[in-house]
Symmetry: C2
Subunit: 304 residues, 2 copies
């Protein structure tokens, strides 16, 4: 499995550079700034941040490759047994300025666990990609989900429906009557070797989903970046960004796990939107475009 | 103890009206709007919200009087045994527009627990008041803490130091190297009948802290509301408001308890600031006023 560690590390580092380049070219102004950091317990990361671009108001494309002893608290949160671990992943969140350009999030990760002799006892892949529009453009939702489906389908017909459903069930603000953070995508976790698939299958699956990321997102950015918007649209975007904050800080397992196990706070909270509003009891007008979005967030659709 | 229920309910309802009136008079423009709600499991509340005033950008002064069966989840979170409960409290958070006027938070509450025959098995008071400035004005910190101390001292010399310390230990963003949310005040909880004090002692103590609230806060508002400020000061306020959001959503027991036990979301999240910024790795300039604040948040001072 050590080979997988090396191969997946190399994959995410190459992918990080490729994704940053693709986003920079689309933006045409801002460049990613790299912040390399070390983890006291072992390993480190490369946090690449973009801000105040033509299109992208704030975003991060981060890799981390960490290893060390598994604290009892971390083992409990992950619900696993093991003495030490290796974890390697790429996490990205991009917040555009224009409310008609959706926010996107993706994460691809590999985890290995070892016993007290340092022998591997468990290994799994996880990840996914999901879209958070502020206004619903059906054509964009269809495009985004089509790419996610295509990325899954070469590995079997059952995977997209399963991981699309898991995504819809994961990104929920449970304190807001099951309102979703966005219109989903795919979400998969704990993809281990089993009767049907070996670990290499899940490695290739995870890498493939990373590889199609720009193809899923950039055409939408490109189509919507010129859309004119008013203060009213921006206001709504900032209200919705508030819900993004609520999800990430109250419910997101990755965020809470990171913060509670002394992860690098600034890299973890890079995901939070740049400007945000919290109004008391904000309710969109009946029949409005804003309400149309909420309806889909309350009841996810099959897009493809 | 039933008498305490009635008496404390009456106290917080009278106090709610008095505090709203005091804040409205200071603001001179905005009025509190009342939103009465019912809890499906029993009881309800009165959420009073102020927004877009001359001074107050957003604020809420809420009472709730709820009762019903204690879910296993709620019992676990509260770390108590009981079949049913009664809870009654006033919670307030005020976010001023001007970065030189501090945000304030207060809460006073009474809790009763009953066995399966409806007989009381436990009862306690809790609460406190704390201040969150964006710029440190020592004179204001001293005034605020003096009033908190005065409110404690008639009940014994040991209470202010103890509850001041508990406040400094409670409002911590643990994921940010023990940075406090603000400059504290007092925080007390689970104040039960014991060898030294009966429950009536804690009732009077809690009521007294509520009664001095305006005396602690309004003179500071009055002194700072005319202070001129620039975009730079406002920017910093919004960055600090981000930390307020982080504390409330990641660490605050009351907020998380409310959200996880199907409390009224809009009343609970009324506490979140109106406009907020999250920048990557924002660090104040060395020797600046902004850094001066951080220094006190990292290492709380004795103000009186």
């Amino acid at each position: 499995m050590t080979t997988f560690r090396e191969q997946f590390r190399e994959h995410i580092q190459t992918l990080q550079t490729k994704i940053c380049k693709g986003l920079e070219e689309e933006d045409g102004k801002a460049k990613f700034v790299s912040d390399k950091w070390e983890r006291p317990g072992g390993g480190g990361g490369d946090t690449r941040v973009i801000s105040n671009g033509n299109i992208f108001e704030k975003g991060g494309v981060n890799t981390s490759i960490v290893h060390g002893d598994l604290t009892p608290q971390a083992a409990q949160q992950l619900n696993v047994n093991g003495k030490s671990f290796f974890a390697c992943g790429l996490s990205l969140v991009i917040h555009p300025f224009n409310p008609f350009v959706p926010t996107v999030h993706a994460n691809w990760r590999y985890f290995e666990l070892y016993d007290q002799n340092g022998l591997p006892v468990d290994a799994w892949f996880g990840g996914g990609t999901d879209l958070t529009p502020y206004y619903l453009v059906e054509e964009d939702a269809i495009h985004f989900h089509s790419i996610q489906k295509k990325s899954c389908d070469r590995f079997g017909d059952s995977l997209y429906p399963k991981f699309k459903e898991q995504c819809d069930q994961y990104f929920i603000n449970h304190h807001r009557g099951e309102e979703r953070r966005g219109i989903g995508g795919i979400f998969f976790d704990h993809c281990r070797e089993d009767d049907q698939h070996d670990l290499k299958f899940w490695k290739t699956f995870t890498e493939t989903n990373g590889t199609v990321f720009l193809e899923g997102y950039l055409p939408i950015v490109s189509k919507r970046k010129q859309t004119l918007f008013t203060d009213k649209h921006k206001y709504w975007q900032e209200i919705r960004r508030g819900r993004y904050v609520e999800f990430n800080l109250i419910h997101d397992r990755g965020t809470l796990f990171g913060l509670k196990t002394n992860g690098r706070t600034e890299s973890i909270l890079m995901s939070l939107p740049p400007t945000v509003r919290f109004d008391y009891n904000y309710i969109p007008e009946q029949g409005s475009e804003e309400e149309k979005l909420i309806n889909v967030l309350m009841k996810p659709k099959e897009w493809v």
